[in-house]
Amino acid sequence: MGREVSESCVDSLLIEMVSTYCNRFYANKSELAARRIEAIGYQVGHQLSERYTMERPRFGDHLEAIKFICKDFWSELFKKQIDNLKTNHRGTFVLQDNRFRWLARLSIDQTSENEGASQDPSENKAMQAMSMYLYFPCGIIRGALSNLGIPCAVSADMSNLPACSFVVRIKA
């Protein structure tokens, strides 16, 4: 059982959500926009983890919960699993997805070759615009883990697209 939604609809909705929050609701206040988007992701992740752990027993430890996020949760959301999981065994986990679905079609506007010096600021602006799209998945992971009883902080790193890493720091 389960209703289906076209993936293009979800993609377009997410694009529009980020664009609305960044350009209309909190124009020039990107910190606030980011926080709102992350809060929306938190709610979504909270509810999704409730749904996807319905018939499972409780998780033994943090690692089990993270593995659930990497395998079952990620496959439900993105039809693939996390490609690489690293940990320092002290509460920090790095989840790496080599081809993150929501960023797969993102490409920067090509700046003209004449602008040598001004290429850096415009590239930074592009990177900043791109990073806004990562707050929602970070919120989802944070919401899912907090519903499983693991408060944490999640940040994302997208230095080499389309691969993307999510860093989960569990609060002691």
Partner: protein, 169 residues
């Protein structure tokens, strides 16, 4: 009626054949005549400056579409010559050929026109143009950083397009 459905890029592209680019150049216009993309792979002769070139191309297609619809011997109801028609209305012309090049054309229901100029012995490129339209949808329309109606500057789209055009027989 043309259908542009399917979320996966379809049809699957033909197997790559010769190396080197087979096409001369390509234009993409939107419904209002804005040239969204102009790509040139092999064009030894330039006669006009880019603005005039784009305007001429758009005007030519507009007139050709109107003319072909008006001269259609099979359909009973025809608009008046020069009257703009909705995309998909009237008979849709798809290519013309001269002794030195062949121009293939496709218009989507949303008014996106794709023009591909190749060498004269190219076969029917309608399927290829549909594939290029799907590439446009995937890498341009779904790119979060692209604003509709502005010229296309998406790297992913350009590289995939170059790769595909190279493989058209």
């Amino acid at each position: 009626m043309q259908f542009f459905g399917g979320s996966e890029i379809s049809p699957s592209p033909p197997a790559p054949t010769a190396t080197g680019n087979n096409a001369h150049m390509m234009y993409v216009f939107n419904r209002n005549g804005v040239c969204l993309l102009y790509r040139e792979w092999n064009r030894p002769l330039h006669t006009l400056n880019p603005q005039q070139d784009h305007k001429l191309m758009f005007g030519l297609l507009f007139s050709l579409k109107s003319l072909t619809a008006k001269m259609d011997p099979t359909s009973a109801e025809k608009g008046n010559l020069g009257v703009p028609q909705l995309p998909g209305q009237g008979c849709s012309f798809h290519s013309f050929r001269t002794n030195t090049y062949k121009l293939s054309f496709m218009e989507s229901p949303s008014g996106i026109k794709i023009i591909l100029v190749t060498h004269p012995r190219t076969g029917d490129l309608r399927e290829s143009l549909k594939y290029i339209y799907n590439l446009y949808v995937e890498y341009v329309v779904k790119n979060p950083l692209y604003a509709p109606g502005t010229p296309i500057r998406c790297e992913l789209f350009n590289t995939t397009l170059d790769q595909y055009v190279r493989s058209i027989a």
